[in-house]
């Protein structure tokens, strides 16, 4: 038997191989952070415990649409709508607000807590690129949460009719306002949530801050508007996340504010009617809030010591 020159039992080692393939730049870096962050929002690729809260709240946001579909499926008459598209957010504003409060702090707090940011910022990724990717990921998640149930309602309504195309012909004009108001809500609330959430790496504090923003601005604005007929207090509605989204949604559907009926307990609607501000002002307020929030996030990351 010929003796092998190779020493017996040697470890098979391929050795180091250099990488000669393409090196993509900033755009790819942003895309990588975006995709990973979007997955992370729903806890995908992470431990089961990270999935419970976001998935649970996503299901909660689906319930009004499911109830709606159940009612129209069970009812004989199909001439009424349980939820009309222009007041959809009345039903899901809290699940959506709790969702951003739950996921935004983890989205930006994790990298701060585990000191991973120096690894990101020593790669082809600028700090503003990182913010952009996180903002886009949160907005996408929220947009999906806002639009998927409404799409289900729209399709359900059409199926309930004898002629689905007929329903589509009558209601296709709602699609624009549904998408526009959903996009505004997503970007607006994401920006605010990131501005608050990026300030600390402790998520209970950050989540509490975001919930406090929605609750306090809502309650205070409502109290101020109803406390007096003074014109100045009307503008307090412009800082309230719930009021601004509601007003913007009504505006996109072209709804004019009529005097509320006596038994109408839609408090946001009543506040908006009482304040009687031009709808454009709410759109401007949303854009101004987004701009201020992004500046706050930018300053937070620029000043961060790495």
């Amino acid at each position: 038997m010929p003796l092998s020159a190779e020493p017996e039992g040697s470890v098979y080692d391929l050795g180091y191989r250099t990488y000669d393939g393409v090196r993509l730049g900033r755009r790819h870096a942003v895309l990588s952070v975006y995709v990973t962050s979007l997955r992370g929002v729903f806890g995908l690729g992470r431990h089961t415990s990270s999935k419970i809260l976001p998935i649970g709240l996503a299901i909660l946001a689906l319930i009004p649409a499911l109830v709606h579909l159940g009612v129209i499926a069970a009812s004989e008459t199909i001439d009424f709508e349980v939820i009309s598209p222009d007041d959809y957010y009345e039903f899901v504003q809290w699940p959506l607000a709790l969702f951003v409060a739950a996921v935004a702090p983890e989205l930006v707090g994790r990298d701060q807590r585990s000191h991973t940011l120096p690894l990101y910022f020593s790669r082809p990724l600028l700090r503003n690129d990182y913010i952009l990717a996180k903002m886009a990921a949160l907005s996408t998640a929220l947009l999906a949460m806002a639009l998927v149930p409404q799409a289900a309602i729209f399709v359900g309504n059409a199926m309930a009719r004898s002629d689905a195309l007929d329903y589509f012909r009558e209601n296709w004009r709602d699609i624009g306002p549904i998408v526009a108001s959903g996009a505004m809500l997503s970007v607006f609330w994401s920006a605010v949530a990131l501005a608050i959430g990026s300030q600390t790496d402790r998520w209970p504090l950050a989540s509490g801050g975001i919930i406090a923003y929605f609750a306090l601005t809502w309650i205070l604005a409502s109290l101020l508007v109803n406390s007096s007929d003074d014109g100045v207090f009307r503008y307090s509605l412009l800082v309230s996340g719930f009021h601004v989204v509601r007003a913007f949604t009504l505006w996109t559907f072209g709804v004019t504010l009529n005097p509320p009926t006596v038994d109408q307990d839609d408090s946001l609607y009543n506040d908006l009617y009482k304040a009687d501000l031009s709808p454009h002002i709410y759109a401007l307020a949303a854009m101004a809030t987004i701009a201020v929030a992004m500046v706050i996030v930018h300053l937070r990351y620029r000043r961060m010591a790495l």
């Binding site: 180091y16 191989r17 990488y19 990588s32 585990s114 082809p124 790495l306």
Partner: protein, 308 residues
Amino acid sequence: MAFLATHALTKRYSGVTALDSLDLELSPGIIGLVGANGAGKSTLIKVLLGLLKPTSGSAQLLDFDVTRHQVDLRRYVGYMPEHDCLPTDVSATEFVAHMAGVSGLPRSAARERTAETLRHVGLFEERYREMGGYSMGMKQRVKLAQALVHDPRVLLLDEPTNGLDPEARDDMLDLVRRIGREFGIAILMASHLLAEIERVCNYLVVIDAGRLVRSGPVASFTERTQVLVVEVEGDSSALAQRLREDGLRLRQEDGRILVGLEGERTYDLIRDAIADLGLALLCLEQGRQSLEDLFRTPKADADDASLG
């Protein structure tokens, strides 16, 4: 152009000058950056990465200006920070692949190189587990892997053996040396431990208070001195007495005799003296300057060098 060059590079924090008009010009190699804690090692690395903006002066790495061409430069740089930087709730595979993507590698290439790189740093089955349960040694390996995964041209390592036990420390130093010698990647490694630098690096930069103290090949720091160290079993005082009578300059220290070397004749005299006195020779070697000498005060150096 040089691989790494700085010109009057200065970085001031509020009141503290971390880098004080530092001038460097280095060729690629395994470069050790030595200095006490707070000497400015980490600051220099962070300025080179663009994590910190210099107060004044300029720096080039791989022919890129570090402030003007940050993004281009960072595609070819790997960075291993001093402190913990790993999320606890993802696996090493997932994390390193993500970091490869952020470095610009397409998805499939990122996956492939992640598997290879983790194998090179010695992480096997455990790479699919969440990193929260990793030992310090495993964490350091992942930190090195994420710096290496995109095949950088230069690695900036900040205290790579930080927090490791002696065995893990040896493994890490072997790994760094292998990356520098076999993988052909230039390395700038900061450490406050001279012994580590001596083992791994072939070039040395010593900084103190943000200023350059000395730089050169490691060998030039450890040149042989003109002193013979003699150690015997038995009465060393008698030997010292005899050698003095033979006309040699010497000094006794901790039972050892340090003899001034004056040509081949010195060896002969020591051999004869030991043979005549019937002593057992334990050690006879030419003394080396140690890197530690760099940090001794000049006064102490002068005392050490004087032979009675």
